[in-house]
Symmetry: C2
Subunit: 462 residues, 2 copies
């Protein structure tokens, strides 16, 4: 397909794209809010109809929660298969925080599309759909499977069961996940790593109830004081440095090549602080590269909640009887959450054996390929569509569905996100724009064309 | 008055004492609960009538809150004056926690009187009233003034204003406070010291709102982590040892004589733990004397509340934006709360200048005389009444009214409490008993007789 021809075809699809996006955005598919349960299902049905309309074989697969939409276009056993993951459920939205006052009403403002879900992740999902239609029209010899989840914003509680139950029917040569954010508008970003997660609840009870600080203060053990000491023993709050022996043992060092990529990603600390509304950052992070590495490639230890004693207004002179603290560690390759959980337990037991440690949530870190045929395809596709080679970076967050697909499908996973920092991901006035949609369609068509040439060594999907 | 004669007279008063105590206990004078406002006032009126009935000149003095009952018996300018402080308001009570199911109904069970307020402080107040009646009948040349507060259980918010406004009319040669607990039934205790109090609120806000621990974890400052570190910097939670420079500078060392008294006080750590329902005590306190000194004569640093981040069930992977911690220091002579507040502020500013420190409540420590004419009188009176010399000890708690009276009246203050550990002070099934009431009357009569002989160097009360 000639570039000129592709650009013209994409332009011609603009009206259809906007109509489709409007239709999906006007359905408030808030998975976190049971009041929107019928909307979530309705959104799955609308999306399935759109997939059917471009010729895909579509199925709405029931789970223990909300369904998953699965579609395939075409389904030729002589072609390789790529599976594209998006999600169609959205974050909640508070109308009073939106300029429009109506988060679930699609608004077109020039090149810009406003409404909850435009960039996360309905816009990128539809971009991939239209790219698949173009790829089909151009005769690219590739089967494209869509997996559109409707529970991503609530932590994908049924996704692993869905994938495992259908593993054989979901056989694929590669996976694309299109739900990530570039670091800057002028520089595409292709993430290749995600942090994992191991969370803990530390609980210490020293008495049956609160006791009087006059009658017992100085003698009674104080569970808040002891938990504060334990937290201070676990990590240096100023720098974030974890003091638990062995914690950093399996951390893969960042290579010079990775660091060079990060530096060229367009990352600016000032913009990052503004985007995330950060008041103050750790003072030992001296430059952009330090900040990037801290987010992308270093594990963390964070206290994300603490409570104990009297927390109302004024004074209540007690020695508290109980306190608890919620901890989460973000983990990076090759840290093993199970090993980290053991290290933390052992450390706490040695320091304060009365503290109860519960390991509450576990997610492995993910590291994809920065090189090889799929990374090369992503590099060339982004360059062709956006005029600039992408930066290969990592994400600081964790996406459960990615680890699930990696473990079940065992094929390369590539992140081809289209969201920009100014799109207001998870924020009021969330938006997407035609520039990213049109560029995204072009990028996907190029990518499909590139990966159709890769000779997969694995059995092909049907 | 012959001992035999006094014992007989006291026995003869038992019916009247029980009737009076029943009348007061049946009025739920819970100062903390606005629903009981009329009960509190009714209690003041009943008590005033009892004082009038024994011939005292009685007044119900209005304050900005609940009134104070003031009475004088007789009022002879040629006699010295003693002022006896008690309070008639009571702690709240949960009916379901009481064996009787009715905390505000007086019950006589053999020698025992059960009901909220029996031991704290209606029983001791009436004991002093009946002793004053006996002293009057015996012609002891002493004016006895009663000050019965009705806001003690809510921190005496109007007591200082009351005392200051009437200072000249309240002139007295000495004060007795009768609202303390013995350490053991078989050994009277006369406290001569109270700990003071300086409380603080530490607040740290690092962001405008909670931020995402994946996108910002490792970079964003964590206010909970930093406050935990600050608490750990302030004190060693295991031993309670305060690390703030200068904190212990003005602590009066405990003398060998004091320590000997503590050891003979009947204190037993096991009983103390049971009485206060303590689960576990600091492990470095190896024996009863260590524990006693820690409560009575050493200052403390306690975290009495902490809150920050997400405290609900499950996990919310945030870096919190704000945390706060409530601290109280119990102080001992000669520590100055203002100086301690300055040391804490300076220490926090040096460690973490972003933490806001508010000094929220201040109360000076109190140290009375362990020797001299009033202590000797207490010693002899307790011995005469209970057959055993009292232990001179200190109290770990703080009583605002005592410091107020010391500063305004500038006369010796003696603690002549009658409550026993098994009386359930502030607890369900609170009780008092005829043994302590009868012994208390005898003790007070002896004490009045002793102090009537002291030649006061100060102007006498009228």
């Amino acid at each position: 397909m000639k570039p000129f021809s592709l650009d013209r075809k994409i332009s011609a699809l603009r009206g259809a794209f906007e109509a489709g996006l409007a239709q999906l955005v006007n359905i408030p598919s808030v998975s976190a809010d049971p009041a929107h349960a019928t909307d979530v299902v309705r959104c799955a049905e609308s999306a399935a109809a759109m997939l059917t309309a471009i010729g895909a074989t579509t199925e709405i697969v029931a789970t223990a929660g909300y369904p998953v939409v699965v579609a395939m276009l075409p389904s030729d056993p002589s072609h390789p298969t790529v599976t594209i993951y998006n999600h169609l459920d959205v974050q909640p939205a508070e109308a009073s925080e939106w300029k429009s006052g109506a988060p679930f009403v699609f608004r077109k403002i020039g090149q810009c599309y406003e409404g909850r879900g435009t960039t996360d992740d309905k816009g990128p999902a539809l971009t991939a759909l239209f790219a698949a239609r173009l790829a089909r029209e151009a005769g690219i010899p590739l089967n494209i499977r869509f997996i559109w989840e409707l529970e991503e914003e609530i932590g994908s509680p049924n996704f692993a069961a869905f994938i495992r139950a259908r593993r054989s029917r979901l056989a694929t040569d590669s996976v694309v996940v299109s739900d990530t954010i570039w670091i800057a508008r002028d520089r595409p970003a292709v993430p290749y790593g995600l942090r994992g997660l191991q969370t803990f609840l530390f609980t210490l009870q020293t008495h049956a109830k609160d006791v009087h600080s006059g009658l017992t203060g100085g003698v009674a053990r104080n569970p808040i004081g002891e938990l504060c000491q334990l937290v201070a023993d676990c990590y240096d709050a100023k720098t974030g440095r974890v003091k638990i022996p062995g914690f950093y043992d399996d951390v893969q060092p960042i290579t010079a090549a990775e660091r060079a990529q990060y530096r060229q990603s367009g990352f600016e600390t000032a913009r990052y602080k503004k985007a995330h509304e950060l008041g103050s950052i750790r003072p030992h992070l001296k430059n952009d590269a330090d900040v990037m590495c801290a987010i992308m490639a270093r594990p963390t230890f964070e206290v994300h909640g603490i409570v104990g004693g009297y927390c109302g207004s004024g004074i209540k002179t007690i020695v508290p009887h109980r306190a608890e603290v919620k901890i989460s560690t973000r983990l990076v390759p090759d840290q093993d959450p199970k090993k980290i959980a053991r290290l933390v337990r052992d450390f706490v037991r040695a320091r304060n054996p009365d503290v109860r440690v519960a390991a509450t949530q576990t997610l492995a870190p993910f590291l994809g390929a920065r090189e090889g045929p799929y990374a090369d395809a992503a590099d060339r596709a982004m360059k062709a569509a956006f005029g600039r080679a992408p930066a290969f970076v990592r994400e600081g967050g964790s996406i459960g569905a990615v680890v699930t697909m990696q473990q079940a499908l065992r094929v390369p996973i590539t992140f081809l996100g289209l969201s920009l920092p100014e799109h207001g991901y998870h924020a009021p006035n969330e938006n997407f724009d035609w520039g990213q949609a049109a560029g995204g369609m072009k990028m996907f068509v190029h990518y499909f064309s590139e990966i159709a040439k890769i000779d997969p060594r694995r059995p092909r999907g049907r």
